[in-house]
Symmetry: D2
Subunit: 456 residues, 4 copies
Amino acid sequence: MTTKKIPSTIVSPEGTLEHLSAMEVDELTRTKFDHPIYTLFRQCALAVLNAGAQTDSVEDLMAEFADFEIHFVRQDRGIRLHLINAPGDAFVDGKMIHGVRKLLFSVLRDVLYVRHQFDLNENATNIGELLSDGVYRVVRNAGVLRTGMQHGLVVCWGGHSIGTEEYKFCKRVGYQLGLRNLGIITGCGPGAMKAPMKGAAIGHAKQQHEPRRYIGLTENSIIAAEPPNAIVNELVIMPDIEKRLEAFVRVGHGLIVFPGGPGTAEEILYALALKLHPKNANLQLPLIFAAGESSRGYFDAMDTFLRKALGDDIAQHYQLIVGNPEAIAREMREAVTNVMDYRCEQNDSFSYNWGLHIPEALQTPFIATHDSMAELDLHLSREPYELAVELRRVFSGVVSGNIKEAGIRAVRDHGPFQLSGDQALMDTIDQLLQSMVAEGRMKIAGDYIPCYEIRS
Amino acid sequence: MTTKKIPSTIVSPEGTLEHLSAMEVDELTRTKFDHPIYTLFRQCALAVLNAGAQTDSVEDLMAEFADFEIHFVRQDRGIRLHLINAPGDAFVDGKMIHGVRKLLFSVLRDVLYVRHQFDLNENATNIGELLSDGVYRVVRNAGVLRTGMQHGLVVCWGGHSIGTEEYKFCKRVGYQLGLRNLGIITGCGPGAMKAPMKGAAIGHAKQQHEPRRYIGLTENSIIAAEPPNAIVNELVIMPDIEKRLEAFVRVGHGLIVFPGGPGTAEEILYALALKLHPKNANLQLPLIFAAGESSRGYFDAMDTFLRKALGDDIAQHYQLIVGNPEAIAREMREAVTNVMDYRCEQNDSFSYNWGLHIPEALQTPFIATHDSMAELDLHLSREPYELAVELRRVFSGVVSGNIKEAGIRAVRDHGPFQLSGDQALMDTIDQLLQSMVAEGRMKIAGDYIPCYEIRS
Amino acid sequence: MTTKKIPSTIVSPEGTLEHLSAMEVDELTRTKFDHPIYTLFRQCALAVLNAGAQTDSVEDLMAEFADFEIHFVRQDRGIRLHLINAPGDAFVDGKMIHGVRKLLFSVLRDVLYVRHQFDLNENATNIGELLSDGVYRVVRNAGVLRTGMQHGLVVCWGGHSIGTEEYKFCKRVGYQLGLRNLGIITGCGPGAMKAPMKGAAIGHAKQQHEPRRYIGLTENSIIAAEPPNAIVNELVIMPDIEKRLEAFVRVGHGLIVFPGGPGTAEEILYALALKLHPKNANLQLPLIFAAGESSRGYFDAMDTFLRKALGDDIAQHYQLIVGNPEAIAREMREAVTNVMDYRCEQNDSFSYNWGLHIPEALQTPFIATHDSMAELDLHLSREPYELAVELRRVFSGVVSGNIKEAGIRAVRDHGPFQLSGDQALMDTIDQLLQSMVAEGRMKIAGDYIPCYEIRS
Amino acid sequence: MTTKKIPSTIVSPEGTLEHLSAMEVDELTRTKFDHPIYTLFRQCALAVLNAGAQTDSVEDLMAEFADFEIHFVRQDRGIRLHLINAPGDAFVDGKMIHGVRKLLFSVLRDVLYVRHQFDLNENATNIGELLSDGVYRVVRNAGVLRTGMQHGLVVCWGGHSIGTEEYKFCKRVGYQLGLRNLGIITGCGPGAMKAPMKGAAIGHAKQQHEPRRYIGLTENSIIAAEPPNAIVNELVIMPDIEKRLEAFVRVGHGLIVFPGGPGTAEEILYALALKLHPKNANLQLPLIFAAGESSRGYFDAMDTFLRKALGDDIAQHYQLIVGNPEAIAREMREAVTNVMDYRCEQNDSFSYNWGLHIPEALQTPFIATHDSMAELDLHLSREPYELAVELRRVFSGVVSGNIKEAGIRAVRDHGPFQLSGDQALMDTIDQLLQSMVAEGRMKIAGDYIPCYEIRS
């Protein structure tokens, strides 16, 4: 279907933005085209209006809808959005699809709210605490936290670019999770971020379970590349990957990792760094590596990499289950129930894992530049926890070079990022990345040109 | 996945059967294994527990679960069902899936309730009225009728055995219907009975529309052959096809027909007979023939058949839309809105089309036997309305010979049904049936051995 | 305020009568003015439309609205009621108050439904069982039975004609019951039938407890004399006092008795007869006599009467709490919780006490005539259980002579009912009745002329 | 009943405070006993826990519960309140009544939220706009604003100290408003602030109308003197009377004034000043003076005063209806419907009257001191609008001297406030105030010692 555009339409807010004060309306309507907030909002809005579309390229999307505009219109009752040349698929008979409208205003809500939540006073000493508090406030403001006992939310990580076989497997796992009344949180895009939600939706429908939660947790710089899939019914936009990762592990009650690319590796290393931290010795954060029979090799490679890099003991921190969606879901259901019981004993919140310690090294944004990548301290002699932190940054940088605007530009202008360290470590990193290239886990479309070079 | 069986389990009722009087419980628990009601209930229960399974053969299903038993257990609080060797797919971690449990007790509700609703006093003169009243009471007892203004329910008819292309097309139409907040009623099985529901489920989710209604309207003798698909969340079981057809046209606000086999032809002729009846001159019953590009031939053949059999004027009673799901849904949405407006003007019920006249000839059960089939009066000289009634019976008989237990047995024992009449008419019937055979619309699996012979 | 009348208005049904089949509508609209069902319905409807009005005299009410008519109007969508000269207080700006409309159609529902529920085949041997089943079906049809665990319903019995002091006390008890999330069931009229509901309404509001249930359980022949008070939001009409009493004790989880007249005495003796029955040895039916300080004398007199008539042991079957609403509610809350726990253990229904044995002697309608009253076997030598049954009839007869149409007419035509038996027993009965006369517990207005004579 | 105290208990938050971030919890738990926020919160909490108690004296209440303490307790899941020596009436069997708990946390919510909403930058030029925005944010944060079309909210003003006759009249008006599905907003205390809510609660129950809104709008310095009555189910605490008045007229859709004291006179003058302002020429703000027959004199006196002070034309801005609750409610229902229609046309918010212009002179807090009272410019030569603004301050000052802590202290220390101006004007003010004294509208208990002196 050729994408139609809706030349001009006005939409009313839904949710928290229905009631704005006169001054809040003023502030919004004064936002100019060239303001960074406008640019960000326009880009995120476009992604949401294209929800379901499959493209890997922010630039393509931006090009196709170069003439898309979004304006704030003041009316006595509050604010409206005026859309020009909006994607036609977001509308039915001229009216915006209700779920899309909700996501659109989620975007606006987060873009507005996030602005001042992470402002750090230059004298601040408790930066980690301040950042954690900000993550909490954003999540709360988005309505993600619910009151009372819940059935549990499972984070599903994995590649946005996976094959049909893997997709079906993820969906079957999602179905089994849904049958067990578990909600799903993912990075909100296609592939392994969509399949578990789709499966869970069927499971929830069969169990007639409410609420049916499919939370997409994304970030400013990635939402255009991975627009929310069609199942997402709650959307949260974090300002960077570190805050997004913190939100994942604090809001979710358990983690399932499906095969994926460097982003998935980053997520695995983030989770393992947490689990390796001494303050998290009593941590309850179930972690399952899940794959269909045909993808068994992926986690074998990952397992090899992790053992080589972090030592064999690392394997006690995850559980690998192959080819059995029911077993995966049953294990996770049990683990989540244990988490709930533990929090009940501890008088902890059911909806937010305050007990988890996240060290500043995992909170501080890692900006992938040629310098920062080159400076990574990649040596096997380091403490496993410290090395995990450093390796997380490696893969974070690769993601940036692959699909984030800033990273792509840097690589285009200055060539691939340069990585160096212990030869053995560099080799195992290289092997893992090569296997991802070979398996096509780097990009949705076209040949992959590496954004990094391993140097010894 | 090999079907596991659950050796023994007890389930509690949900819905109208939660509150039974002591004597009602007594009556149920006295039901013996050899009672026809028990046999019927056991068979329907098995179908529901196999919801989603794809098989065309009652006998296979019955054979696989020959050791399945279902018993009524008396407890002070009411009744329970004791299941022995029940299909494992209906359970999650030992507990019956909530939606399946609801359907299971819908079956029991209807089996019990229907028993005495169509008892006709031998002196009754107003048989048509009595039958219509019974259909209404069954539908009401099943909770299908809702109060107040509604968004509308669309009946989707079409084959249970369709190709991937057609399935996808039906699903896309369902999606567009769902986006327009229309509920779906189908015959409750696979193929064109499932696809529109599946599509609508996505459309409803995107519009966050409630209630999401996917009504399966089936009959005693067919539910085992076409067990409810996984989307059905309301189930009604009628005692025969005539009452089922009446329920379809009185509960639905519009009809969409997708390509199908002889059952679909029966449905088309039923609808056209109604539309040809003089008392229904002002009838509001939108009828759309819908097909993807690749199935255009199907409705061309149907159109040819209908014109040859009933005259060219017949074409004004249906609308054919090919390859444009959005247009189909838009037309239907508009037509349903018109129906609602008309009923509002007429002070008619929104949830039941009392105004529709259904002649006794369409209500009286047609039992397909070699005699009754041979006696059909198939001549082009008959009034179009009368001929439509008769043709409806032709296809009804073919369905019976294909998939209903009694019909299959009759054909196995005595050879194909014999049909005769005007040569030209017989030829066009034959062509239509042959094309269905050629397109594989007769059976899900195996070669089709015709259950009829056209004689001139 | 002078009662206005609404000359003519049409109202639509709400609830179970919204969906009627064509034949059900036919049957209704054929009901003639002179049919007993019409007369009964008209009378009950009038009572409901006068809900809140305080009058003791059926005849006055009937006289004031002698020109009130209620007709069934057929419309395609179903049935409407056409009211002529209806009481104006039931309307706001020309529209019937929603709660009144609901009660009006509850009346119609019960009048229609009850008709055939107690038809006894002349050969029936299990009459008691048949009657119990009928009571259950009426209660179920009225929607009183709810699914799942509930907070509990407390039956409050007591006089319709009580002083301000007593009224306030009942209200305070109701408030404390409401604060403990208990629903209220009463005989649905004024006085001690209204006060606990009023108090509970405030308690429920403060606890923000839902659902707020105020069930009025009345009977055909008494509803006009005791029209539903303004708080009643569920109404059930039983055909006679015996079925009403059975409904009280099976639906309620505990009983509180406030001071009252002969009707209250009848209720006390009914409850005690049940508790004395050997089959109810393990019965869980909490019974509290509750009075304010100023009414302590009432229960002292009752206690004296019960001990003299039934022996001192009878006192272990009730608990008397004076002047402490909080203590009454706390005791009842605890007792109801115990009842719930017991039923849970026994796998009994939470919403209906099937376990309670009600002997036929308490089920068979006692029609108070001069003959039946004269024949009562009132001797202290009888078994306490049997004597309690007989004494229940004494007070039932007095109620009839006081406020039921048939009884009033009989007494007017033939003089007071004659009661005889053991002198000592007759004396204690006489004392109790005299004290009720002295305390003005017999009638709301005017001097009381006894409808009975005690003979020795 | 002697007030019991609960020695020590812990309560969990409900509503917006259920989810607090770690730093928010920290901030709260650092609040010290001697902090003004603590003092304010403790006082307001005490008032809420005494909801329903009738006392006019902050000091008495504070004295009786001098040993009452309220502490913030940190738990991992969030915050708890630890109460010491709390009033026993707020608890049932040791558990705080749900509605009271909700109000308690409303208090905390507002006390915390309001703190920084009205901070004015010293260079601010648009003070009026800033204040209005703050009022809106407080109301929004309290959850008072609802989405979509509503039935309407009626502000009821009038004395907290009124006689039985007047109380019954107010209740009857409330009943008629409730029957018309209107919600009630009052100053949240006893008397004319409680009666309309109580009546409306019965009307709403009869109409089975949801939501049932009884909004108490109070202020820091008055909540202890007029604790929320037992019906209030939404509570908002404003920092001063000017913001409270703004909230009344912006949130309500119409105003009814019952007889009252100087506070009521302040409210009348506030409303009239608004109506006299040229920018509000098209203002839709229905204003009805409502009194029972026996209080007709009150509004005759008020009418005389208003005409003398502001000219005869003032009478066109209000409507006086005596002795007919139904007429009052019918008029208001119609007026509110007109307001809704007008806002719909104007695309205005249904839940907040942004269109209303409130001049700064009515927004700036008037602090009643001997100086500020003496400086009031009370001359008949002034523009009616300006004089209305000034007269509002006169009565505001009297209220302060009567029941606000600061005012009472000032008068105790320095004698009555001195008022002066045109003789004729001073006389009519004096007459009005004298009649209030004579009718006992100044205080609930004891003889009234005037807090003002009229000087010419």
